[in-house]
């Protein structure tokens, strides 16, 4: 299966701290890769380096075979990279529909066709009834769906999900898991940073574990979760 994302020896330093330490990573088409690790492990930094919001100090990132290491995020978005933000960042003052319109405009410059397609995306995520509501008035579960809708609206080929399951109550969680699974069936490759193990185990084909900026384990979810090094990293050693 073709590789859609590859990172080699990716390293990010902040001042004296090495937040991401020579991490290698591969994502194949229609794969779901999970990125887990204890708090402060460097997951978000790695995530941001992969998506272009943070400059790596060393290493390279390839997307669809092209090197994108220093490419601006908006350029990557145009090439097919969609991402969500951990602290959901909709355009608060705009309505739900307008929020989805904006990324839709990327591939559909005309207002009429963009609106038509945006409404379709809203249907998919189940937000059609809220189309005219200001984004700032949505509850958490809906904000999360809006976040996802905006990432999908640019018609990505890779989807980067940043803790998209966080804070969802059990029914909403189940819905989200089912939804992500459906996305893969549609032909998306997905990289997800997660803390919710249920989602990781159900969705991911492969998992990478990060601790102190280093990759300490890699493999199928069941394997990795049972790996003693991983358990240690989460519980801490005495």
């Amino acid at each position: 299966m073709p590789e859609v994302l590859r990172a080699e020896r990716l390293t990010v330093r902040f001042g004296g701290v090495t937040a991401v330490d020579h991490v290698d990573l591969k994502l194949a088409d229609r794969d779901i890769l999970g990125l887990i690790g204890p708090n402060g492990a460097g997951k978000t930094t790695l995530f941001n380096a992969l998506t272009g919001f943070v400059r790596p100090d060393e290493g390279t990132v390839f997307m669809f075979g092209r090197e994108v290491t220093h490419l601006a995020p908006f350029q990557r978005a145009r090439d097919g990279m969609g991402r969500t933000f951990q602290t959901d960042r909709p355009f608060e003052e705009l309505t739900v529909l307008e929020n989805v319109l904006i990324p839709t405009f990327l591939k559909h410059p005309s207002r009429r066709s963009a609106e038509h397609i945006a409404r379709g995306v809203l249907d998919e995520v189940g937000l059609s009834d809220r189309a005219d509501q200001p984004a700032m008035d949505l509850n958490l579960a809906r904000r999360r769906r809006l976040e996802l809708a905006r990432a999908l609206a640019i018609e990505p080929r890779i989807l980067f999900l940043d803790e998209i399951m966080a804070g969802l109550n059990p029914p909403a969680l189940r819905e989200m898991i089912a939804f992500v699974r459906k996305l893969r069936e549609k032909g998306l490759a997905i990289l997800m940073v997660e803390h919710i193990m249920e989602a990781i185990i159900e969705l991911c084909d492969h998992v990478i574990v990060l601790a102190n900026g280093e990759k300490i384990a890699e493999g199928a979810p069941q394997q990795v979760v049972a790996d003693s090094r991983v358990v240690e990293a989460y519980l801490g050693t005495d």
Binding site: F85, E92, P103
Partner: protein, 317 residues
């Protein structure tokens, strides 16, 4: 879009009728229309893109001087001069924006003040460029189709056209991709980037459009004044007035700046007849009131409430 079309039609009708109803107040009308146009143009950068500029009088002066110098030195008719002014304004806005867009909000505003001040000093001192502090006089103007450009009536209709065009452009932008890109960049640059928008490119486009339109108004203003002095045109206070007009009226809305212009020019006139000077006091008091109580400006707050009410109504049905 329908509301906007209605508003434009209304503005057109009232605008056309005004000189017949109040022929003695043409100058006030011209000032009001110019400010509608300037504030609306400013707002493309300051409200929609969210970059507050306090140096826009530069573009006013640019337009005015192009027309005046074009006429008096090169015999160039105003419409050609204005077209050149548009190009010059866009080019300068591009360079200016390129240099300063890395700066955050208030620092960007400070840099615009400094830039405009430098241009003012150049205008005052470089006689070969601008005629220096003594100014430029427009002695004669062409008469297209026999129209007298020095007549207040003609200038009024030019100003009316300016106001209609600027508001029309913003109304058009508001529903299309560019308008949404502007709002996205203003709200959250990172989110905008994730949606495939290049914030710098969008801000530059906004700056160029804003500057070019302001310069058009400046050209009309130049015809209106017929005698130009640098300190009147490249004037910090004019920049401040334009910015405050848009902010008080409501940034990021189609009609906010226009409403601000009507309110401020009218109350300025009333104030002037009672106090004879210091009508800028009103600007000061209003902006303070806006910042404290109505941060989105008058129409900004109104539009926010309307959006909520529209949703509430559709949710019930």
């Amino acid at each position: 879009m329908n509301t906007n079309l209605f508003g434009l039609a209304l503005l057109l009708v009232i605008g056309l009728a005004y000189p017949f109803v109040l022929p003695g107040y043409l100058t006030v009308g011209i000032t009001m229309l110019l400010f509608i146009g300037w504030a609306t143009s400013w707002d493309i950068l300051g409200g929609w893109a969210g970059q507050v500029s306090l140096g826009h009088s530069f573009f006013v002066g640019l337009g005015a001087y192009f027309v005046a110098l074009g006429q008096s030195r090169y015999g160039l008719a105003p419409w050609w001069s204005i077209m050149l002014a548009i190009l010059a304004a866009a080019a300068l806005a591009y360079v200016w924006g390129r240099i300063t867009f890395g700066l955050r909000g208030p620092y960007f505003a400070l840099s615009t003040i400094a830039f405009a001040e430098i241009f003012r000093l150049i205008a005052i001192n470089e006689k070969w460029l601008t005629g220096g502090a003594t100014g430029v006089f427009i002695a004669s103007l062409p008469e297209p189709f026999g129209i007298d450009l020095f007549s207040r009536w003609t200038q009024y209709y030019l100003a009316l056209a300016f106001a209609l065009i600027t508001v029309g452009i913003v109304a058009l932008i508001s529903t299309r991709r560019f308008g949404y890109q502007l709002r996205a960049v203003r709200e959250d640059e990172n989110s905008a980037m994730a949606s495939g928008i290049d914030p710098t490119a969008v801000k530059l486009k906004a700056f160029m459009l804003s500057g070019a339109l302001t310069a058009v108004g400046g050209g009309i203003y130049g015809i209106f004044l017929s005698f130009l002095e640098p300190h009147v045109l490249f004037y910090l206070l004019l920049s401040v007035q334009i910015a405050l007009t848009a902010i008080i009226g409501g940034r990021g809305t189609v009609w906010g700046p226009a409403a601000g212009a009507v309110l401020l020019i009218l109350s300025g006139e009333v104030f002037r007849t009672t106090f004879a000077q210091a009508n800028l006091l009103i600007y000061g008091m209003l902006i303070l009131a806006i910042v404290l109580f109505l941060p989105r400006g008058i129409l900004g707050e109104v539009s926010r409430r309307l959006v909520r009410r529209r949703y509430a109504r559709s949710a019930k049905s």
